[in-house]
Symmetry: D2
Subunit: 271 residues, 4 copies
Amino acid sequence: MSLWKALDGARVLDLAQPMRKGMPQSPNHPPFRMTLERRHGDVVRPGGGSAANEIIVTGGHVGTHVDALAHVSQDGLLHGGRPAAEVMTHEGFGELGIDAFEPYVGRCVLLDVAAVHGVPTLPAGYEVTAGDLERAAAGLELREGDALLIGTGWSRLWPSGPGAGPSGTDFTGARDGAPGPGVEAARWLAARRPRVVGGETIAFEHVPPGRGHATLPVHRIMLVESGVNIVETMRLGELLDSGAREFLLVLNPLPIAGATGAPVRPLAVLG
Amino acid sequence: MSLWKALDGARVLDLAQPMRKGMPQSPNHPPFRMTLERRHGDVVRPGGGSAANEIIVTGGHVGTHVDALAHVSQDGLLHGGRPAAEVMTHEGFGELGIDAFEPYVGRCVLLDVAAVHGVPTLPAGYEVTAGDLERAAAGLELREGDALLIGTGWSRLWPSGPGAGPSGTDFTGARDGAPGPGVEAARWLAARRPRVVGGETIAFEHVPPGRGHATLPVHRIMLVESGVNIVETMRLGELLDSGAREFLLVLNPLPIAGATGAPVRPLAVLG
Amino acid sequence: MSLWKALDGARVLDLAQPMRKGMPQSPNHPPFRMTLERRHGDVVRPGGGSAANEIIVTGGHVGTHVDALAHVSQDGLLHGGRPAAEVMTHEGFGELGIDAFEPYVGRCVLLDVAAVHGVPTLPAGYEVTAGDLERAAAGLELREGDALLIGTGWSRLWPSGPGAGPSGTDFTGARDGAPGPGVEAARWLAARRPRVVGGETIAFEHVPPGRGHATLPVHRIMLVESGVNIVETMRLGELLDSGAREFLLVLNPLPIAGATGAPVRPLAVLG
Amino acid sequence: MSLWKALDGARVLDLAQPMRKGMPQSPNHPPFRMTLERRHGDVVRPGGGSAANEIIVTGGHVGTHVDALAHVSQDGLLHGGRPAAEVMTHEGFGELGIDAFEPYVGRCVLLDVAAVHGVPTLPAGYEVTAGDLERAAAGLELREGDALLIGTGWSRLWPSGPGAGPSGTDFTGARDGAPGPGVEAARWLAARRPRVVGGETIAFEHVPPGRGHATLPVHRIMLVESGVNIVETMRLGELLDSGAREFLLVLNPLPIAGATGAPVRPLAVLG
């Protein structure tokens, strides 16, 4: 059967947050900015046609995005014991950059920890534990090479609309923290040997109140120790509500040569 | 059968060109720039961890990208007779922007015009005709709502490697032109009522030598008159070589709110 | 006598705030960002030489800067009743842009309102009145075409050092306001027919607590009604402390073609 | 006598080239881009007021600019034998950056080498020699700490007008070279112990045809060995035509913390 027939009637969910000026993002990264350079009517060609276009300033870890393995090092070493200095140039990473991430089209399991606790959204600063994951995974088969997402419901708090910017402070968790996996949960995930892990917060980490992104142990465990990419700032609300726990995930970050991460518009295809 | 089983063993082809400083692009759009802001070792956290990240300057029509319907107007009107002035603000387009493009996951037909002419790559400045498309479509079923790509082989000329920039002049066709559909071919495509059309050149147009992107009639026909999005600067060489003419296409441009276009990493999934 | 002899022994004060990531600025403008693209050692030429350089993202109203007359319109009209639409293109302003500002090298009078009140810095949200200016101008000659600066001491609050960013919130006055001239004071200034006026805050306005830059009446009076440019975010602390009230001012904003404002490093030369 | 009286009737010449998209610049630096973010009418405040503003992408060595001592290193060392690695961070240079350049207000001598050869503009690829400088300096007193500019007339070739971009290729000298001092002339200059040197070309170097900015020996001599800053891409045509050879120069580059260079609008004040 042809693939497009297999997909006939499938439901496709967009797992990316919209990118706009003022959206929540880490203060460590360049603020997102999109401005129209030309508007309709600015330059009208003979015949009455006109084109509009924009300039975009952003970062590789802004909006929904995938972390490349090159993003984090430990004691100067990248994944596989590769010295960062060996593969890092002023034009980016010759290895382990986001362009080395082979697009993922495959099985994904959603571990809905919010549902485990019977809430739509976990509290700010909640640490997802290995026990949470164990309970969320009950009845689900986890296979090596799968994508594993943690549902916290946090993406429901993403501010909507053009005037959304200033209220985004809470989403980042800078003040009150953000829910995410602790070290124990990260080891639980890594032990399943997934291809990629991810979630809804800006950093796939447990962020305690008032701490910000001070330390990133889960990044170290996943990217450096385990060679598992991370996808962050996903929009999972609709997916969580759908009840789907197994589905097809498409994860194809922009192939920016040598970058440590890149924006992506992940898709869930529900069978 | 679950979808990920249907995809078991499927071959996934990456249809995006890598994005790097100096890559070929239209002079009408902001030059792509990616620079590492932090490198490993710049800021070492207690414990020995370090993160690297970048700043990116780009445009919505830079690299492999999808044109939103809002990209082009004719006599002040967007698709559907919508006055551009009504939906255009300084923060982008409230309608018809790239965030209004529902991600496409569906059937795609590749019309290999290069093969029709028995060449790997059509000559610069060659106008793809309706007759070419007719011959390329022989034996293929074209359905309303499909994606239709034209193969010219032009993407084989994309410069590779970090030092590729300066030689990119020829790829843009500024001097010698670039192969693409003329008005007649565009009408042929529009009559099939596809969801999206696309190709390998920077503009999905026949660009005669020495003319540059002076007029863009195919954009008018597809975007304004027909409401059909365009994907440009695709990397189709490997796909053309594969002989596949029908496949599953995933087309999910970044959801940049109100933008006239956005970069994308399209995937072909071969059954 | 040659000019450089006249300046022999003169004291030159730098009236610009340093530009760095995270410095206080208006949320209406692009966040300042400077990143090294190449560092020493990245590209070493034969012979052992190496060059470092940066990429800069900024705005015309970021850091110490001059407002062009084109910056503000009233009822669609710029200064002199010029319809904004007539001189505004997507590439900037053909008239009244910052490149139309002839560099100023001339007499400047500092009206030290903080000293009038016997304080180093006026309180946040204080409205400078015409009476304040009258008292500050006592004994000083004001001539048509002079530059007139208002001293509030506010620039003493500019955060210093690389980690200064986050604390900048107070400087902008978003929460508690910022001292500056009200409508009455602006009319007093305009009546003196100066070439340029300016001060230490981000907007040369009285900003009441909790209001932000909601309305900008002083900008209207100076730029639109009076054709007088404004210089903002100046660093005046050292000048205020010097006791100098008349001096030579050099004001030469970057000649960015068609821009509504541009950064500047103003100099005071004390006789 | 007060300084502003001393300057009464003085002629002020603007020595900066206008900054606009497409202007000539080195391919090593970020392409200049200025785009209006808000135009008049986009956001009209209650009362009828409206403000326009822009986003600017540029580099520290784009347009008329001053090179900081931190710009160039030799064998890993900056001026004074300072290891680059010691003062270089990801946020810029803690020492020897452009913010360490004390604004210059002082005597300047123009060495008009074009006049020595009886031409308005020296030929592309001409190497200015020590003998040329000696002849140009005849009758002029050169003092330690002066600014010394070399007149080649090259700035007369700067393309004018908005559509000037593409023709800028020749100005950079990438193909045919650009006139400037060779090693011998640089040593002659350095021996005069000036505060700053400069000229009209993009690099203050002799650029032979077809070589581009391959090696930069004059930068090494001035910046690294002699601790003398360089100002480049100056607009000297009007000054050359004026016949003035001694004048007051104001050189106040933007104080971008830690940058290797910064744009400037230099002024010549003729007595």
